[in-house]
Symmetry: D2
Subunit: 110 residues, 4 copies
């Protein structure tokens, strides 16, 4: 994510004096709530119906998830791109191509 | 997020032929499950205890959330930075500084 | 739920001296995590596939959700059957039959 | 849960002709969304503050969780009390009193 955008996200919070509420546990709760609100747009619908009728809401909720991801990363002093790279390497070990190709199973079931 | 990193994330999936499972509804389910696994690291713990004893696991789960965010955005043809900017503008209207300063209430309760 | 079963559920906890961790907020977190573990059994699968291959796991996770519901109700001094009756009445007002019949929309969209 | 109450819950749905939407996967999604709405009452609050200011909303969301649990159990032909008894036995094996007494760790960490 661009440094400039991260600054905007953090400034939004500073301007409202909300850092005082943003401990990592409550941020993790909030991120989970937003992910659930994202999912709510798909409730009782096929994937296609949801995308057709709720695309803007889905985009908004996905943005909320990302905003909390930025706050949580900042409070833990984590760099988003670093942790993704680290996790991709672990996922490569958990899901080697020759075992996981075309399979939807969890690594524990492969 | 850097174009290069997004390409790595998408390549991870292509190499395993997993796009076939990745419809937006199942991606939204998965994003919500990962957010919940992130939260599990804080279960029964204070925020401080969790960060002290589970920081690596928290980083890994946060990375999983972000990876699914990239897949979902790609499947909906959304740009992550664009949707964040759009949502920040909406949040500024919902939470004007003079009303929201230092308050933890939802905008509907402000 | 039978009084006798509720007693068993509470005894399980007392025998392990776990009430000390079971404040309502952490119980709500745990209930949400268990609901997500339930959902995980449906990840990347059609409803039918999941029921066929994961029925026992689904039953176990649903039981975990109910066990936490009992703990949360007990910590708030709520009776499970009372709160369901109260909520059904509210839902009847929100979703009057003549408006909601055969519709999957949220009441705010009806 | 009393047979009579289960009948009321199922009648609520039949009267609205909603069984057509209630496949197990979408019910699992809905249960997870309701659990998250329950948790939202605790967002940015201590457990005590939430219980003091949001007890009615917490009770309502807990009721929604239970209503979906009844629908899901019915669609899978599961008896709620049976699955709880079965799971309590498994939990006793996972968390033997002598190992788990006073410990908040997951069984995999005990």
């Amino acid at each position: 994510m661009k440094e400039e955008l991260i600054k905007l996200i953090l400034a939004f919070r500073e301007n409202r004096n909300w850092e005082q509420f943003h401990n990592p546990k409550d941020l993790a709760i909030s991120l989970s709530i937003e992910a659930s609100e994202l999912l709510e747009n798909f409730q009782w619908k096929s994937s296609e119906e949801a995308v057709e009728s709720k695309k803007e809401q889905i985009a908004d909720e996905l943005a909320d998830v990302l905003v909390y991801a930025v706050y949580l990363a900042q409070s833990l002093d984590l760099d988003l791109e670093d942790i993704i790279l680290t996790k991709l390497k672990k996922n490569e070990a958990k899901y080697p191509i020759e075992k996981a190709f075309g399979k939807k199973d969890k690594y524990t079931d492969l």
